[in-house]
Symmetry: C2
């Protein structure tokens, strides 16, 4: 029933292509992706170290190096990696008279394994025990601190370490079925939260009131707000507009560009509404932006060069009513990170592949006027695009 | 009315002591601290780069290097640094017929400044324009990617870069009045959210129901949940217990160890309740843990060695009813990060200083029994501890 998140086939294939004997995840996204382990401290802070070690096929056993204080999360979560090495001291008592739950018994067993002095010492032991002291190992260079990396390379002078952050982004870009279902859930919570906020639209209501409704709905549905941009009227033209005391007035554009987290996966969705009848300019521009997205849906299929998707969307927006439309990209992958590979830009040689999950977006920001945007989440399927949206991207006119 | 967050006096003093000509913040916490700028992308993702440059007193002008796409946030927030250098392309249009708001006009002005190719190119220009090509510069090594750091050192071969993450932690450890008020607000939202969750206690209610009430209350009060541990019964003994479908039963301990964010500042609070009459063991142990915290309040004053605070709290817990109590630390600083300097452990030579804000905590985890904990937020004042709590840390017995 419970399935790993990892796309093992793709990972092993890319490791072979790249000549990597193993790869080490150090960012929280990569640790969760490779092992299932949501190591709270590294997700909510910068600095705490947890590593996921993944050898190439047949080159050893996957392993985790984490703090002794996080072992309860290993035992309580679905973690598909068995070799868990702990570092640093953490005190846990045991009631000798009690019958322990399975989770507590599993935690206790891990607490009885050797205690390494540091995250790096635990990682070094893993690499040594897999016989990889002379190997080529990719390491996600962004999540390990420079001090830890120095210790690692000093302890293993014959390992060739290669930066592997972008390698892991490429592995993660083709989603497994489990990931797609979580992303579908994330999208649903995001859409419901937009609907909940729109439901209180009335003259004098503030952007902060919208934020509150949005976040409450997200909380009620098991999500976490991450980056919530909500703007009314000319504030909607601020690309990252943070909700303020600005009040809703008749004729205002309302722009949402909102991202949350659900079962660790991200959403990123944009919808716009008009509070009362929109101006002809708002209608025309928004319609052009929406047509660009619809064009994207028509042509998305495995094998399509991403740069062609960019060009087709841009061209459609320009011909459908926004002739001066300029934009560096029209979307990006999404998964455990809000911006996964690929970026839908003209400069990429990436090609769409089956089971990529994309945010396709056409934002337009005009200071003194408004910000207008459509952003959908979708899956690249063998026969075309499957939308993860249940609401229309068209401009919603509130009576 | 609006006040910088930075403790400038302490920062300049520590820079002089350390022989630093300038310091560069690269983590989101340090950028916000040094400039007031909440650079959304670096807060919600790992990888996007924004830098805060701060010279020593009289050595130049503070500056920000950030993406062109974040300039709306610079203009819409209270940012007390004027020199903002932007990198990369971002398209914004302007309605020539409109009268721009002050925020939009400010954004437009910044968009008309030179566009640097990369975060590092912008940062190099700042260092050069301040005449510091041969200087000793501290850089927060955790937030800059290795690739960017390599580019930086290649471009400025005569700068001596020193790792400054712990330096900035020490600067941030003595809070300004503005920071203390935000932390007070964060604590208040956390306490209200605990109360809101406890209000639904009934047989059969789940930990997830509690989480929902907690997060909804946090959202209604302008906060964001960050790390929310809520456990009932024997699950309360998991140190990082993540809410599950576990149902509340008569006699259960309920343990909260909860952290949120409010106006960018963190809370970290623990409270325990008993659903119905607690066992004698629960009463005795929790009382001992609470007495430890009360002892801390009695002795906290500027000048007290942190290791002595640790020893006094531990000793009190042991003599008051938990003789086998062991623990690596009994708290930590709190601010923009959930764990600020100092750590309240036996191994530190840190000394309490006026306007440190601390979490003082006595957690106890016994598998098969329960987790019990008190954690208060408090300010070190010239005449002793000022609690930021409005609720008691004593065990709450729910009828």
């Amino acid at each position: 029933m419970r399935k790993p998140l990892t796309n093992f086939d793709r990972m092993f294939e890319l490791m072979d292509e790249s000549g990597l004997d193993a790869v080490i995840g150090t960012l929280p996204e990569n640790v969760t992706y490779l092992t299932g382990f949501w190591a709270m401290t590294q997700w909510v802070r910068r600095g705490p170290q947890t590593y996921a070690f993944q050898p190439a096929r047949g080159r050893g056993n996957a392993a985790i190096a984490t703090s002794s204080g996080l072992l309860d999360l290993v035992s309580d979560q679905y973690v598909w990696v068995d070799d868990v090495r702990r570092f640093e001291y953490f005190q846990i008592e045991v009631d000798a008279d009690a019958r322990l739950s399975d989770e507590d018994a599993a935690q206790l067993k891990m607490l009885q394994t050797p205690q390494y002095k540091s995250s790096v010492e635990a990682l070094v032991s893993i690499i040594r025990d897999n016989g990889l002291e002379n190997a080529t190992i990719g390491i996600d260079e962004v999540g390990i601190t420079p001090t830890c990396f120095d210790e690692l390379t000093a302890a293993l002078p014959n390992v060739t370490f290669r930066r592997a952050n972008s390698f892991l982004q490429k592995v993660r870009s083709i989603k497994t079925a489990e990931e797609i279902e979580r992303l579908r859930g994330a999208a649903r919570v995001g859409e419901m939260s937009i609907e909940a906020a729109l439901a209180i639209a009335a003259e004098g209501v503030t952007e902060l009131d919208f934020l509150s409704e949005f976040n409450v709905c997200t909380a009620r549905n098991g999500g976490l707000p991450v980056s919530i941009c909500i703007g009314f009227g000319d504030r909607s033209a601020m690309s990252n507009v943070q909700p303020s005391r600005n009040q809703l007035n008749p004729g205002d554009v309302i722009r949402f560009d909102v991202g949350g987290r659900y079962q660790h996966y991200r959403s990123d969705i944009s919808r716009c509404a008009s509070f009362g009848e929109p101006s002809a300019k708002v209608r025309q521009y928004h319609n052009a932006l929406h047509k660009g997205i619809e064009r994207g849906y028509e042509i998305i299929r495995p094998g399509l060069p991403v740069a062609q998707l960019y060009e087709a969307v841009m061209e459609t927006v320009r011909t459908e009513g926004l002739p001066h439309y300029k934009r560096s990209h029209v979307g990006h992958g999404i998964g455990l990170d809000g911006y996964d590979f690929p970026n839908i830009s003209p400069a990429t040689d990436a090609v769409l592949e089956e089971n990529m999950v994309l945010c396709l977006e056409t934002p337009y920001y005009e200071l003194g006027f408004a910000g207008l945007q459509v952003e959908d989440m979708l899956v690249v399927r063998s026969d075309g695009a499957e939308s993860l949206m249940t609401t229309s991207g068209a401009l919603k006119v509130l009576a």
